[in-house]
C-alpha cells in the first residue's frame, strides 16, 4: 500500500517530487510544506521551479502536514539553516510516530554543523549494502547487454534527474522495460536503483569501485531484464576552475568507466554558449567519459561564481521559460546536437523519438519491445 508522504521544507531541491508526483512508486505526496517566510504558502509548485502549472499547492502548516502523512522527508534548504531547528522538527515528527527520511544533502549539512544524525532517521537513497568486488585479473568489467542511456550534468539544478524520469516515462508508455540507476537522493521514491554508497568511500580504490559498480549494473540487468538502462549521474562532470573543483568529476568518471553509454544526454545551465565551447564540452565527454553527447538539456537555471572568499561561491538564478525556449529555438537551432528543455515536453518527445530511432538502428544495440 502506498505511503502518504510529506516533504519539509519544500524547495527547488525537491520540487521534482511534486512535479513528477504521478511517477512516484509506493508513495503519494500529501503535503508539500514550506515555512511561511519562504513566501510559497498557497502557491503552486511551479512557482518554485518555473515550469508548467502542476496543480499541487504548497502549504505552511507543519502540524497539518504531519497529520496527513505516514512518512516525512526532510530536505536540505537552499540556504544556511540552524541545524537545531531541523532537530526540533525531526523530534516533533518522531513524537507523532512518523517514518522519517532525510536527503543525502541534509546529511552533509548535519556533518558540516558537526552534529550527529538524529536517531531513528533514515537517509533517502542510501545504498550501503551492495557487494564490493576487488579488481583483479578475474574480476574485471562485464559486458552489459542492454542499451545504456547515460545522463550527465555540469552541476546542481541541471535537471538531469528530471530528464531521466521523463525519458523513462516515455519508454515505459510504449511498453519497454526500463531500469533506472541514479545518484540523486530522490531516486529512491521513484523505483530507481540507487548508486551504492561505496562510490563515495574514500578508502576504496578506484579500480574496485569501477568493477564493483559494473557488476552492480549487471546484476540489475540480470534481475530485471530491462530493455534499456537509464544511468543518471548527479555529480558535476568537471571542475569550474582551479578553486571550485567539483571533486574533479571523479564520480562521473568512475561510473563512465563501469559502463559505456550508447546514447548520452548532457544537462547544462542556461547560457549563451558558443559553438566552440559546446564542441569542447562534447569532446571532453567523448574522451573523459567515453560518452558521445547527442543531446543537450538546457535548464532554466544559470550559475554564477562569486568571489572565492564568500562562504559559498556558487550562486544560482532562474530565468524565464520564455527566455530559455527562445534561446534554444534561435541560438542553437543550427548546432549538430539536439537541444531540449525538461519543461518543454514537445522537445522532450522529439529527443525521445530520436533516441529510440538511434538505438533501433544500431545493430549492436538491441532494443526489443
Amino acid at each position: 500500500m502506498d505511503k502518504n508522504l510529506m516533504i519539509y521544507p519544500f524547495n527547488k531541491r525537491v520540487s521534482a517530487i511534486a512535479r513528477y508526483a504521478q511517477l512516484l512508486k509506493g508513495y503519494i505526496l500529501t503535503a508539500a510544506v514550506s515555512p511561511k517566510n519562504y513566501g510559497y504558502d498557497g502557491k503552486d509548485v511551479s512557482y518554485i521551479d518555473g515550469g508548467e502549472f502542476v496543480g499541487i499547492t504548497i502549504t505552511s502548516s507543519f502540524r497539518e502536514g504531519l497529520e496527513q502523512c505516514d512518512c516525512i522527508l526532510f530536505s536540505a534548504s537552499t540556504f544556511l539553516m540552524d541545524m537545531n531547528y531541523y532537530e526540533e522538527k525531526i523530534q516533533e515528527a518522531g513524537n507523532c510516530g512518523k517514518e522519517i527520511w532525510i536527503t543525502k544533502e541534509l546529511v552533509k549539512d548535519f556533518i558540516n554543523a558537526q552534529k550527529s544524525i538524529p536517531t531513528g532517521v533514515k537517509v533517502l537513497g542510501s545504498n550501503p549494502d551492495q557487494l564490493r568486488v576487488s579488481y583483479n585479473d578475474t574480476n574485471t568489467i562485464q559486458e552489459i547487454n542492454v542499451p545504456i542511456l547515460s545522463l550527465f550534468q555540469v552541476g546542481e539544478f541541471c535537471h538531469g534527474f528530471d530528464t531521466q524520469l521523463l525519458m523513462a516515462e516515455r519508454f515505459e508508455k510504449e511498453g519497454y522495460r526500463v531500469s533506472k540507476v541514479s545518484s540523486n537522493t530522490l531516486g529512491a521514491l521513484f523505483n530507481v536503483h540507487m548508486v551504492p554508497d561505496y562510490i563515495y568511500d574514500p578508502h576504496m580504490p578506484y579500480e574496485d569501485k569501477i568493477v564493483s559498480f559494473n557488476h552492480f549494473l549487471n546484476s540489475i540487468v540480470e534481475d530485471n531484464q530491462p530493455d534499456i538502462l537509464l544511468l543518471e549521474v548527479e555529480e558535476a562532470i568537471l571542475p569550474y576552475n582551479n578553486r571550485i573543483t567539483n571533486h574533479f568529476g571523479v564520480i562521473p568518471t568512475i561510473i563512465s568507466k563501469s559502463a559505456q553509454a550508447d546514447v548520452s544526454i548532457l544537462s547544462l545551465y542556461y547560457s549563451d554558449y558558443d559553438k566552440e565551447y559546446l564542441d569542447r564540452l562534447r569532446t571532453f565527454c567523448r574522451y573523459a567519459l567515453n560518452a558521445e553527447v547527442n543531446y543537450i538539456n538546457m535548464t532554466n537555471e544559470t550559475m554564477f561564481v562569486k568571489e572565492i572568499n564568500y562562504t559559498d561561491p556558487l550562486h544560482y538564478v532562474s530565468v524565464d521559460r520564455d527566455i530559455l525556449l527562445n534561446s534554444i529555438g534561435s541560438n542553437f537551432k543550427d548546432y549538430d546536437c539536439m537541444f531540449f528543455h525538461t519543461y518543454d515536453l514537445v522537445s522532450v518527445d522529439a529527443v525521445y523519438r530520436d533516441i529510440l530511432c538511434k538505438l533501433s538502428q544500431n545493430e549492436d544495440v538491441v532494443i526489443t519491445g
Binding site: 540556504f79 572565492i308 572568499n309 562562504t311
Partner: protein, 462 residues
C-alpha cells in the same frame, strides 16, 4: 584595427595592458615607445601572439540585465532598515547635514508594520541566497532601541531556522549594558564610528550643542572591554578621515591606544558623490597615505614585519588581492557587455528608509528620485533597476573605448542626476577611475616582480 590597450612603466620595466585578454604583458622599451605611437606593425606582432584582438564591444548592456528580475525575485542578500532619520549627533560631514544633495535630519521613525513588511520581503525574495543579513541604520538606530528589539523579535518569529546575520551601525554614544547584553544574545555584528584621536574626532563628531563625543564613546568602550571582553573583541571601528583630520595623528592613535588595540579599524574618506563642495585633501594626507600604504606593500613582499603596518592600512592587503582577481585572464568576445563597476541594484544591499522606499544601498542620496527603486508596498521597479544597472550606457562610446573597462568601479551613485542618470557627472569621475586602474596595474606588476604570491595569500585570507 582597434585593439584597446594601455602602456605603462614602473621602476622595474615596461608593460602594456591588453584589454581584449585582460592581461598585463612585460615589453621592451622600444615596444613601449612604438605602442605609444599606435604603431601598426607592433600591434600586428602582438596579434600574432594572441593579444590585442580588435575591440569586439558594440554596445553597453550589463550581462545580468535579463536576469535582474530573477535576482530580485530570489537572490536578495541583505536588507538595511532605516529605523530613524534622527540622530543625537551632528557630525559635520554627515550626508544629512546639508553638505550633500540628500535629505536632512528629521524626527521620522519607521513603523513596526513597515519593518515587518521589509523583513517578510527579504525572506520571500532570498531563496537562492545562502546567507542573508539584516542591518539597522539611521540616523542613529540606538535612539529607537525598543523598535529595534521588536524588529529582532519578529525576525526570530518568522525565520524558522534560517540563519540571519544581524548588523548595526552606531555612533556608539548610546551603548548601555542592556543594549550590549541584547546584542550579545542576538549575535549582532556592530560597527562603531570613531574617527581618531580626541582632537580630530571632536572636530567633526559633535553633539548638537557642539560638544565633542570622543570622551563619551571611549568611556563606553573601556567599560564594554572590561565587562564584556568577548563581545568587545568582535566590534569593528569605522574611522572617517575628513579633510580637517590629521591622518598621522589618527594613525598613531589607532595603533597605540590600549583600549582599541585588538579591534579591526576600517578607514574611509569622504565621498565626492553628491557633495555640494569639492572634497580636497591636503598634501600631508597624501604623503602619509602613500607612506602607510607602501609599508603595507613592503610587508606583503616580506621586507618588513607586520607590526610596522598600520592598523588603518591592513585592509590594503585584502584590496590588493581583490584587484589581482580582476586580472584573471579572460577574453572579451561579447558584443554586448558592461564595465565592471555596478552591483545589481537592490540585490546586495537593499536599503529601506523610514517611509518604506527602496534604494540600491544606504550610500545613495535619499532625496534622489532616480535612486528610489521601489517601495515596500509595490516592490522593486524592475525598469528603474535595469536602468541603474546599465549606468555605463549613458557613456557608451567612452566606455567601449576605455582601457579601464574591467577595472571600472563607477556605479549609479556616481552618476546621480536626481531625475535621471547624469552623463556629465559620470564622465567627471572617469579620470580618477583610469588613474586608479593604472595605479592598480603598476602595483600588481611591482608585487609580482618581488615574487608576492597572490594565490597563496587569497587562501590565507580565507
Amino acid at each position: 584595427m582597434n585593439p584597446i590597450y594601455k602602456t605603462f612603466s614602473t621602476l622595474s620595466g615596461f608593460y602594456v595592458y591588453d584589454r581584449s585578454t585582460n592581461s598585463i604583458i612585460n615589453i621592451e622599451r622600444n615596444e613601449f615607445d612604438l605602442l605609444n605611437k599606435n604603431d601598426n606593425q607592433t600591434i600586428i606582432q602582438f596579434k600574432k601572439k594572441g593579444y590585442m584582438k580588435d575591440n569586439s564591444i558594440e554596445r553597453i548592456r550589463h550581462l545580468s540585465t535579463d536576469y535582474l528580475k530573477h535576482y530580485l525575485h530570489n537572490n536578495i542578500e541583505q536588507l538595511t532598515i532605516q529605523l530613524t532619520q534622527n540622530c543625537n549627533l551632528r557630525c559635520s560631514y554627515c550626508p544629512y547635514m546639508g553638505g550633500y544633495d540628500n535629505r536632512k535630519y528629521s524626527n521620522k521613525i519607521i513603523s513596526i508594520e513597515t519593518i515587518r513588511k521589509g523583513i517578510d520581503f527579504l525572506f520571500a525574495h532570498s531563496q537562492n541566497s545562502k546567507q542573508i543579513a539584516i542591518g539597522f541604520y539611521g540616523g542613529e538606530p540606538l535612539l529607537e532601541m525598543p523598535l529595534l528589539k521588536e524588529a529582532v523579535e519578529y525576525i526570530e518569529e518568522v525565520k524558522e531556522g534560517r540563519e540571519v546575520v544581524l548588523t548595526l551601525t552606531t555612533n556608539g554614544t548610546l551603548l548601555t549594558d542592556d543594549n550590549v547584553e541584547f546584542f550579545m544574545k542576538k549575535s549582532f555584528q556592530i560597527l562603531i564610528s570613531l574617527d581618531g584621536a580626541k582632537e580630530y574626532h571632536n572636530a567633526n563628531r559633535v553633539f548638537p550643542n557642539g560638544e565633542g563625543s570622543f570622551d563619551v564613546i571611549m568611556k563606553k568602550l573601556r567599560h564594554i572591554k572590561e565587562k564584556y571582553p568577548t563581545f568587545f573583541s568582535k566590534l569593528t571601528i569605522n574611522s572617517v578621515i575628513s579633510t580637517n583630520n590629521d591622518l598621522s595623528c589618527s594613525n598613531d592613535f589607532f595603533n597605540a591606544d590600549e583600549v582599541l588595540e585588538q579591534l579591526v579599524v576600517n578607514m574611509t574618506t569622504l565621498s565626492e558623490h553628491n557633495s555640494k563642495d569639492s572634497i580636497l585633501y591636503d598634501d600631508s594626507f597624501k604623503i602619509i597615505n602613500d607612506f602607510e600604504t607602501c609599508k603595507a606593500y613592503l610587508y606583503m613582499i616580506g621586507k618588513i614585519s607586520q607590526r610596522h603596518v598600520s592598523k588603518l592600512y591592513k585592509s590594503s592587503i585584502g584590496q590588493v588581492n581583490s584587484i589581482y582577481k580582476t586580472l584573471e585572464p579572460h577574453e572579451i568576445k561579447e558584443k554586448e557587455t558592461h564595465p565592471g563597476g555596478p552591483c545589481l541594484p537592490g540585490v546586495s544591499r537593499l536599503f529601506m528608509d523610514v517611509d518604506g522606499n527602496f534604494y540600491p544601498c544606504e550610500r545613495v542620496s535619499e532625496s534622489s528620485e532616480i535612486m528610489r527603486i521601489g517601495h515596500i508596498d509595490s516592490g522593486i521597479d524592475i525598469v528603474k533597476a535595469k536602468y541603474l544597472l546599465n549606468v555605463g550606457a549613458i557613456t557608451e562610446q567612452e566606455c567601449i573605448n576605455c582601457f579601464a573597462f574591467n577595472f571600472c568601479k563607477a556605479c549609479c551613485s556616481s552618476a546621480d542626476g536626481n531625475t535621471e542618470l547624469s552623463r556629465e557627472k559620470k564622465l567627471a569621475n572617469c579620470n580618477n577611475i583610469k588613474y586608479s586602474a593604472l595605479t592598480d596595474m603598476k602595483l600588481i606588476t611591482m608585487l609580482k616582480k618581488f615574487n608576492y604570491n597572490f594565490e597563496e595569500s587569497a587562501y590565507e585570507e580565507k
